[in-house]
């Protein structure tokens, strides 16, 4: 069962992604609107709106990845059971990747929709800072040696706690349909189907990546422990 987990989810993700690409480009309605003079509205997004599907899809699971990472770090510090640490670090690796995708695609959308590459508004600032904390986590794991897992867990927990402060401290909100409405509620009906399909595909993708990474990390740890045990027993050099 465990051996099949990654191939299963990866296949689901692949099918889902292929289907979403088709659905997003050929089934979902093109977004545009007319102004009073009968011309296209300057804010019509046309094809750019398609970016939203996989930008938001990745963003959802970025939040999940961060929560899993924080929870895993907390459990690891409590129980010192390495399997929690495996989970936390794998989820953080995937979160870094998803975060990079979110930031880059969001920036391209911003250029298309608002003609600026970047804006210091709440969600963007928060995402960037969260991503920096995650990258710091990865660096610490890599370069801090044996105690890296502890330090990184501490970072993850502190990072989670500082999120509400980051949220409070930034001001204007120009993200599309941010705040109470939420992006999902304001989607026109034709777009909801494709949207949920992409979200589901990216969930399978996230699960596949995390399980693969967890298995890999666990195997590395076991090999390391075996080698150390061999050295201790004097069996190995």
């Amino acid at each position: 069962m465990k051996k099949l987990a990654v191939p299963l989810f990866a296949t689901l993700a692949a099918i889902g992604l292929a289907a979403s690409v088709y659905v997003v480009f050929f089934v979902a309605p093109l977004e545009y609107s007319f102004n009073e003079a009968g011309k296209f509205n300057g804010s019509s997004l046309f094809l750019n709106q398609k970016i939203m599907y996989f930008h938001v899809g990745h963003a959802f699971w970025l939040i999940l990845a961060v929560v899993v990472s924080g929870a895993g770090s907390l459990m690891f510090l409590r129980t010192r059971d390495p399997k929690w640490d495996d989970l936390a670090s794998s989820s953080t690796d995937v979160a870094v990747v998803f975060g990079a995708v979110v930031l880059v695609t969001g920036s391209i959308w911003a250029k298309a929709a608002w003609d600026v590459w970047w804006q210091w508004e709440p969600r963007l600032t928060l995402s960037l800072l969260l991503w920096l904390v995650l990258v710091g986590y990865v660096l610490v794991r890599r370069f801090a040696g044996a105690s890296g897992d502890r330090i990184a867990s501490g970072m993850a927990i502190f990072g989670m706690i500082s999120l509400p402060f980051l949220y409070k401290m930034v001001g204007q909100d120009s993200h599309p349909a941010a705040g109470g409405n939420g992006v999902v509620a304001t989607l026109p009906p034709g777009e909801r189907g494709p949207f949920w399909l992409t979200v589901a595909s990216f969930l399978c993708w996230y699960i596949a990546l995390v399980i693969s990474r967890v298995q890999s990390t666990r195997a590395e740890r076991e090999v390391r422990e075996l080698r150390e045990r061999g050295l201790d027993l004097g069996v190995l050099q």
Binding site: R78, V140, R150, I151, S153, G154, F158, F165, M169
Partner: protein
């Protein structure tokens, strides 16, 4: 209540130990303060000197100086423990580890405040910035900022004690976590330094930073033991 008093007394004693050692050689204080002063001199050359630009950039200059010198001070303070291998002795002492941590944090706060005491007048003089127009609020925000830097910094500097690339890893870990602190500090200072000072905003940020400090102090106390124990 008595426990709390005992806690603070022990923490103060640890802090006093650190500060007394420091006062003897004054190594960290001198280097930190001098580094801060050099930063101010560099800013004087690096940024335009018209009045509006100064009012805009002085908050950033002050808090960046505190950030950099704070990181250096943290690194050096814990380096000293590592070099003399006194960390083990400290942990073996019949003082709960929590108070060791609080004592270190207190000592670091004092060091950062020493830098602030020197850098702020320097900024006001070299750049002709009206930093001391409202000294009460400014002192408050700088003290709160120093406490925040010291508390969060001490946790991670302690964990990085034996790590090889700790010098560069400490800023890597610390700065993203301290961003709310720096935003609060610079926004408050900017509100105080502006042509028409905005006291509401200044008080908002002072309260914000106070809550931030309180939350992270509690979090550090919870997490310190499990993070630093081998």
């Amino acid at each position: 209540m008595a426990d709390l008093m005992a806690l603070f007394r022990h923490a103060a004693r640890v802090a006093w130990k650190d500060l007394r050692i420091e006062l003897r050689s004054r190594e960290i204080v001198y280097t930190m303060v001098f580094f801060g002063a050099l930063l101010v001199v560099i800013y004087s050359f690096a940024f335009p000197k018209d009045d509006r630009a100064i009012r805009g950039s002085v908050p950033g200059m002050l808090w960046v100086s505190l950030a950099f010198t704070g990181t250096i001070g943290l690194g050096r303070a814990f380096d000293r423990e590592r070099e003399n291998d006194t960390m083990r002795a400290l942990l073996l002492a019949p003082v709960p580890r929590l108070e060791v941590f609080l004592g270190k944090a207190l000592a670091t706060t004092a060091l950062v405040l020493a830098v602030a005491v020197v850098c702020t007048p320097l900024l006001a003089v070299f750049l002709n910035a009206p930093l001391f127009a409202y000294p009460g609020q400014l002192i408050l925000i700088v003290v709160l900022g120093a406490i925040g830097i010291a508390v969060v910094g001490s946790v991670f500097a302690a964990t990085l004690l034996k790590v090889r690339s700790r010098d560069v890893l400490l800023p890597v870990i610390l700065y993203p976590l301290l961003v709310p602190l720096f935003v609060a500090g610079t926004s408050c200072t900017a509100a105080l330094v502006a042509e028409i000072p905005n006291f509401d905003a200044a008080w908002y940020w002072i309260q914000f930073l106070g809550i931030y400090d309180a939350v992270f102090l509690v979090l550090s106390i919870w997490v310190f033991e499990s993070l630093v124990i081998e």
